[in-house]
């Protein structure tokens, strides 16, 4: 069964450093989402792509976070510089067409900022 791939699974970094996360959605899925999940809370949407275009990045802290999906397939989420409060699980999800449709999640990247 096709799955959403994410890497790395775990990342430890020091504050003020740059970090990057990668996501490869299910083949053929036009819509890709990045979520942040703080321990004990539900996921919070950071950015949504439809193909290579950003549909919603209203919750993305743009002073330090950036996301791209240049060819409309895989995507990278970057944080620069990382802050202590960025420690969280970063989840990527994809759906086939972006309407009210099922989202399929990857295993996530656990970020720890020291």
């Amino acid at each position: 069964e096709a799955e959403v791939a994410q890497s790395p699974r775990y990342k430890i970094t020091e504050k003020s450093q740059a970090v990057a996360f990668w996501c490869d959605p299910i083949s053929g899925h036009a819509t890709l989402y990045w979520y942040r999940q703080i321990l004990g809370q539900g996921p919070e949407l950071l950015v949504q792509f439809q193909d290579e275009s950003v549909v919603d990045d209203s919750q993305l802290p743009k002073d330090r976070f950036s996301a791209e999906r240049l060819k409309g397939v895989d995507s990278t989420l970057k944080i620069q510089p990382a802050e202590l409060g960025d420690s969280a699980m970063y989840l990527c999800a994809s759906s086939s067409w972006g309407g009210p449709d099922t989202q399929y999640f990857g295993p996530g990247t656990r970020l720890t900022v020291l």
Binding site: Q41, G42, E44, L45, L91, G98, P100, Q103, Y104, G108
Partner: protein, 111 residues
């Protein structure tokens, strides 16, 4: 955005004792989805119920939806220790496709 709020926040039961989790939301929806998350892992889609449906079954899962009360419930029958996880509801409205999750219900099933 449309946020679901799960209740209770935590639930501890014995194996075989049915587990019921509730979800409330505030505005009209297109559908409502339930997800499971094992500790430190990604979310797994369990079931989707559309606004014109009142009940749906999938294996040991039974989901109900009451749009007049803006609420949904997830029942797990004969739960096993492997069902220990956090469960999230995510309502989806007609205007967009963003899922907004509440804090989830943390279910512990004791053997």
């Amino acid at each position: 955005s449309q946020q679901g709020e799960e209740d209770p926040q935590a639930l501890s039961i014995q194996e075989g004792e049915n587990a019921t989790m509730n979800c409330s939301y505030k505005t009209s929806i297109n559908n409502l989805q339930w997800y499971r998350q094992n500790s430190g892992r990604g979310l797994v889609h369990l079931i989707l119920i559309r606004s014109n449906e009142r009940e749906k079954h999938s294996g040991r899962l039974r989901v109900t939806l009451d749009t007049s009360k803006k609420s949904s419930s997830l029942l797990i029958t004969a739960p096993r220790a492997a069902d220990t996880a956090s469960y999230f509801c995510a309502p989806l409205n007609n205007a967009g496709n963003m899922l907004t999750f509440g804090g989830g219900t943390r279910l512990m099933v004791k053997p």
